[in-house]
Amino acid sequence: MNTTSNIRPLYEIAQEQAGGSGKRTMTLSMGPQHPSTHGVLRLELELDGETVVKCTPEIGYLHTGIEKEMETKLYYKSIPMTDRIDYMSPMSNNLGFCLSVEKLLDIEDAIPDRVKWIRVLMTELTRINSHLVWLGTHALDLGAMSVFLYAFRERELVLDMYEMVSGQRMMATYFRIGGLMDDVPKGFDKTVRKFIRTLHDRIKEYEDLLTNNRIFQMRTIDIAKVSAQDAIKLGLSGPSLRGSGIDYDVRKAFPYSDYDKFDFEIPVGQNGDVYSRYQVRIEEMRQSLHIVAQAIDGLPEGPFRAHVPGVVLPPKQDVLTKMEAMIYHFKIITDGFKVPEGSVYVPIESGKGEMGYFIDSDGSNIPNRVRVRPPSFVNLSALGEMVKGHLVADVVATIGSIDIVLGEVDR
């Protein structure tokens, strides 16, 4: 008696179900609870055997209406919400929003140098934070479990520094419109210097584990190749764009917050495949460390808030002793501040790519419209094109390589 004859491959059954229509493909739903989709992302894969014919990402499971919510709040009350957009790089979000409002208010020149440099320092640490999470999860998806544990170990150090400056480990809300929440504490520079030394060695360790790893190379080289022209057409940004050989980084192209005073390079990949994007991000972490080192060495002295009465809170000592300062404090907290009519867009380079805030003001104390240009959203829209013709396992590698955060995709 032959029992094995009843077992048939799945695609044959799929063909049979499709009937005489000549359809050779079957549809597979991946997610939204799949661990390697990095959140609540659902992919509808149309498969021919194990080859992807069509991939349709479906999003919206994490939609929280942040943009609408911001239209109902005073300007400064939106800052905590920006943390939650891309929850892997909270400080970059804060920075984008604050810069945008500062541009609308036209108080950019009043921002002290110390504020700018601390902002640069913290956003570069944020980039490292974002890339470490990416590295860990990406490697985990491809089967390298240990990298995940190591990357998260170093991420803890970054979170410790967040806690030092803001009292919060993840949703820091450290930047304010026109300044910072508070100055950096005593001993912060020592912690940062120690971290730079540690991470320099650790990045070497990650590279030892992955860069020349044969399994890792086989899973990533020549997978999801995007040519330079396609990358621009698809609107990719950040390391996904630079992996394809386009030298576009907002920090260099449209310098903000004194980035033009720092010495750093923009790593650019060659092949535009998953491996190139990996190389770009690893090199970016080194460059970020280089910027952090410059920022901590040359940190200028000065106040941690701009002196703009009526917009930026006055120093606490003045609030307690001077009448005008107390009135300003009270007015700003209760009533906010009026922003001149008009709209601006300020982009910054977050860990994921170009993140920009388009704010339209109608002259009142709440914005008329806040639009977040989400890098992950646009990068994810390219996924369907990228994975065409690859295997199902490569879809996982590709999702990892474009580094999406679903909080930012859905907002």
Binding site: I59, G60, H63, G65, E67, K68, E69, E71, T72, K103, L104, D106, I232, K233, L234, G235, S237, I246, D247, Y248, A253, F254, G342, S343, V344, Y345, P347, E354, G356, F358, D360, D362, N368, R369, R371, R373, F377, V378, L380, S381, A382, E385, D410, R411
Partner: protein, 168 residues
């Protein structure tokens, strides 16, 4: 370029050093592709498409909505905004999907959140909002509703048990 499209450009607007042009809705594809193909300009990177609802200042301007195309010239490091005003809700805008594939999702989001339709879009369906949500949330007349938490039972007002209900 300004001379070539003098008929299509409605007005120029500079705010805080950022340059925008208001153009006629029907000529948007023509203008953006011309800006992309012009050798000296090369605005080939479409960074963003977003929409604004001007219901609050509708008294001043007749057109209620505005769509902002955010384009970047990577070789020149220059960013520019091309804007169109949309007056009626039924007015449709030509799609950019054929020129820039990334416009597909961005336009879908504009439609989903603001309800501005795009002519010739291959798949203009809901993208971020829930399937059972009616309306377009970013419109100003779409009110924000807060859920009020009602306590269903307290010590004085205990839970009502319906004996006929098979679930109790």
């Amino acid at each position: 370029m300004r001379g070539r499209f003098s008929a299509e450009i409605v007005s120029e607007y500079v705010h805080r050093g950022q340059l925008s042009f208001y153009v006629h809705p029907d000529s948007i594809v023509k203008i953006l592709t011309a800006l992309r193909d012009e050798k000296s300009l090369r605005f080939d990177y479409l960074a963003d498409i977003c929409s604004v609802d001007h219901l609050r200042k509708k008294a001043k301007t007749n057109e209620r909505y505005e769509v902002v195309y955010n384009i970047v010239s990577i070789p020149n490091s220059f960013r520019m905004f091309v804007r169109i005003r949309v007056s009626a809700e039924a007015q449709k805008i030509p799609t950019l999907c054929n020129e820039w594939p990334c416009a597909n999702w961005l336009e879908r989001e504009v439609w989903d959140m603001m309800g501005i339709e795009f002519k010739g879009h291959p798949n203009l369906t809901k993208i971020v909002t829930a399937d059972d949500l009616e309306g377009h949330p970013l419109r100003k007349d779409f009110g924000i509703k807060y859920e009020i938490q009602h306590f269903t039972h307290t010590k004085d007002d205990p839970i009502e048990v319906v004996p006929d209900n098979p679930f109790h």
